[in-house]
């Protein structure tokens, strides 16, 4: 019994300690961003590895998600004779939910895991402490550019996902199933609102980008400096990001669309 209580206490304390370290890490990183702005070259490189390399998976997934939405939506809507509202259905579900959420999940898997593995391995091979020895702050030099790159890439990738998805829905709905092209776009435009739908979707993706970058970099930075530690940290990044994205998505949706 005492053992159990001790274990419980230990788990609680370690998880709180980790949370605390995470917050300090975040504050350091945010301060470090100021010095990144003075060296934009560092950011370009990270934007390439975080953003550009995720470009392909995001656009292909967006296309297919849009096409599936077009197909499924058409079969359901044609039961009610409301095929013309296909555009609304595809665009609303992409812009509000699927765009930010699926892009964030893919981003966590594609870029987040890579960031964790990279930072974790740097720590395991003592590159980070080596930098500290040379009086270079690894948070400013290594972490902050990656954080900023993740934070900036996510909204762009989510927007790309939604835009390509809508086009994918149009390819299937209009091109294959014969929904009227004018109805597809005009119904979409008259129903979706810039502020309520598009802006809220962008806000979601900004929040997700922030959270994924934070989790991924912190897990790498906090990883046990062994090969097993790095592999565990990478797994934790993907799992924790997925939980956080889905949980935050619910909260954000309730806040944004709750009163409708």
């Amino acid at each position: 019994m005492i053992d159990f209580l001790q274990k419980l206490g230990q788990t609680t304390l370690t998880s709180f300690a980790k949370l605390g370290r995470g917050y300090f890490f975040l504050i350091h990183t945010l301060i470090g961003i100021i010095s990144v702005l003075a060296h934009p070259r560092l950011l370009t490189k990270q934007l390439y590895s975080v953003g550009v390399l995720s470009f392909l998976i995001i656009s292909i997934s967006g296309l297919f998600v849009g096409m599936v939405l077009g197909l499924q939506g058409f079969y359901i809507l044609s039961d009610f004779g409301a095929e013309e509202t296909l555009g609304v259905m595809v665009a609303a579900s992409l812009v509000r939910e699927l765009g930010p959420v699926v892009a964030a999940l893919l981003f966590a898997g594609r870029a987040g895991s890579a960031l964790t593995a990279e930072i974790g391995l740097m720590k395991a091979t003592e590159q980070l402490s080596g930098m500290e020895m040379m009086a270079i702050d690894p948070i400013k030099r290594i972490i902050a550019p990656r954080f900023l790159a993740g934070f900036l890439s996510m909204p762009l990738l989510a927007a790309l996902f939604s835009a390509i998805g809508v086009i994918g829905g149009q390819i299937i709905g209009v091109g294959l199933l014969g929904v009227d092209d004018g109805a597809y776009w005009s119904q979409m435009q008259s129903t979706l609102d810039f502020q309520d739908d598009i802006l809220n979707g962008i806000i979601k993706s900004i929040v997700f980008g922030f959270v994924i970058s934070w989790i991924a970099l912190f897990e790498g930075y906090d990883a046990a400096p062994t090969s097993e530690g790095v592999s565990r940290a990478t797994t934790r990044t993907v799992v924790n990001s997925a939980f956080t994205i889905l949980g935050l998505d619910f909260i954000l949706t309730a806040l944004m669309f709750g009163d409708i």
Binding site: T44, Y48, V52, L156, L157, S162, V166, Q189, L192, D197
Partner: protein
């Protein structure tokens, strides 16, 4: 290791694509393109029953949208529904304009249709439309139909 220049070009391309898709969403998917920088003015109308009218429902003249509903509230004194509309200021409405609530299709959303009168005077900011006809409530209509049938 890739050449820095190629890398920078690709990053530039990525950012450009991202911004282009944001722009595409704003213009093509949402209605930002149609109601952008036009000036708007408010007018009010009192309805006995505003039915299923919602904020952002369209306001039309002869089927063309000229504005949208901004708020729906209730007047505490005489319990009528006060509907505030945002109208494109290019359109001047005579003071004897009639406002009616119609439904687009059988199950479609409700909208306000304005029928301009012949008055020489025009509604100003926060002007009030006096002549209105309320929303047709399907249940009331069906109820009336059945009571008529029974009384026959």
């Amino acid at each position: 290791m890739q050449n820095t220049k190629t890398q920078e070009t690709l990053v530039g391309l990525f950012v450009a694509c991202g911004i282009a898709s944001l722009f595409f969403m704003a213009m093509q998917i949402s209605n930002l393109g149609s109601f952008s920088s036009e000036k708007l003015y408010n007018i009010n109308a009192n309805f006995e029953n505003s039915g299923g009218l919602k904020v952002k429902s369209p306001v039309t003249i002869a089927g063309v949208r000229i504005g949208r509903v901004v708020s729906i509230s209730i007047n505490k004194d005489d319990f009528v529904s006060v509907v505030k509309m945002n109208i494109d200021s290019r359109y001047k409405l005579p003071t004897d304009t009639v406002a009616s609530i119609y439904t687009a299709g059988l199950l479609g959303e409700q909208y306000i249709s304005l029928d301009p009168g012949g008055s020489e005077q025009f509604l100003k900011e926060n002007g009030l439309i006096d002549i209105t006809s309320s929303a047709v409530i399907l249940e009331e209509l069906v109820g009336k139909f059945f009571t008529d049938k029974v009384s026959e």
